[in-house]
Symmetry: none
Subunit: 209 residues, 2 copies
Amino acid sequence: MSTPQPLLILTPDDLLATRWQALSSSPIRALDIEGLDTWRKAGHRLVVIDLGNRPAGASPVWTHRAWQENAAGLAILATSSRPDDEEGLAVLNAGASGYCHSHAPVDSLRQALDVIDSGELWVGRALLSRLLRLVDSRLPRAGLADWARPLTEREREVAHHAAVGESNVAIADALGITERTVKAHLKAVFEKLEVADRLQLALRVHGVR
Amino acid sequence: MSTPQPLLILTPDDLLATRWQALSSSPIRALDIEGLDTWRKAGHRLVVIDLGNRPAGASPVWTHRAWQENAAGLAILATSSRPDDEEGLAVLNAGASGYCHSHAPVDSLRQALDVIDSGELWVGRALLSRLLRLVDSRLPRAGLADWARPLTEREREVAHHAAVGESNVAIADALGITERTVKAHLKAVFEKLEVADRLQLALRVHGVR
DNA sequence: GACGCCATTGTCCACAAGGACAGGTCGCGT
DNA sequence: ACGCGACCTGTCCTTGTGGACAATGGCGTC
């Protein structure tokens, strides 16, 4: 670990404040967002902000003026006692450099701070791996899509039409064949892809889950 | 930094091998993928694998048997001399714990190794922020998904169940209500979201086009 | 030529889905 | 007290879907 940098900690939670004293001898304050301003002007970078259990209606802390104006000049590690993907994405996109669990071991926090202090971003394993899977499944994969490989050319066409919600008759019209034939192709598709119906097929084709 | 762990370095590049000697006194080998097996069996975890400039036609190193079988038990930091997002995603999805530039400062590498050794994932700022932006732009915005806003709480539940392919009866069972009621809720959902059937609903819910 | 795969179509049938009428209770605000 | 919205349930009925029997012709391989 490099030499410890001055660290501003913002949390409304007394337990966390106590717990985090080991991280720094620097100021610990209640969630005083305006304090970001003076902290940055003093030439410091590192901040830990505990998002805590935000009340449902309240506007998130990262929409506050003080956050918006200072995030770029600071390295903010946001912590949440109930982390979820949406919140993580939102806070990172709002300029935070890291997002992790409020009750993570102090050693983990120290590591995260070390990382964001060096200019990198910190995203916990859980959120990150979900991000990766999400992007991986949504990105147009190279070559033939995974689902299409076991299918014949005609089956691919039918499957694609079905996967965007067209009815059997509509597909038959579009391809200039009988509805019966569409059913035959779809039956083959269902078997090959091991799905029960056209909805499952649609989900598979569009890479859901 | 915690106490340095034994580190296996695999690279075909002599310059990199020299440069990375500072990281570890442990073995440095040419790209001998089979070595992963013995390394893991010896009880070690940390590995750096330089992907180098893969020739266009060659099958990526992460498709090899030795990689597939050992990735889960190891913490692999993959480095590339010409990193690109596709490669990064592929290698991370193949079980690597980190991905960064081959010529990154040795201090950065050390930090990355420290992170992956503690069980986390390491993704460099560039790739990570691109990931975030990508996901952010593709994910239906806002805490409440766009489609859910006009719906009542119950309608949301039913819609969600239907959107993952459950039948009306299954939904009824899951929610402890009658199939008839499920239909009623779905009818309302279809009208409010202006979709014709549950398949269109599923596509809308999962943000397809 | 026989065999297999593909594309095509046929009929019959069971069932899920969705629309069109109905109704009912409960809680909340005016 | 009254209206309104959310939630719940009922009975028809039409249509779409998918499975279970089929069959035919083309085309490539052994």
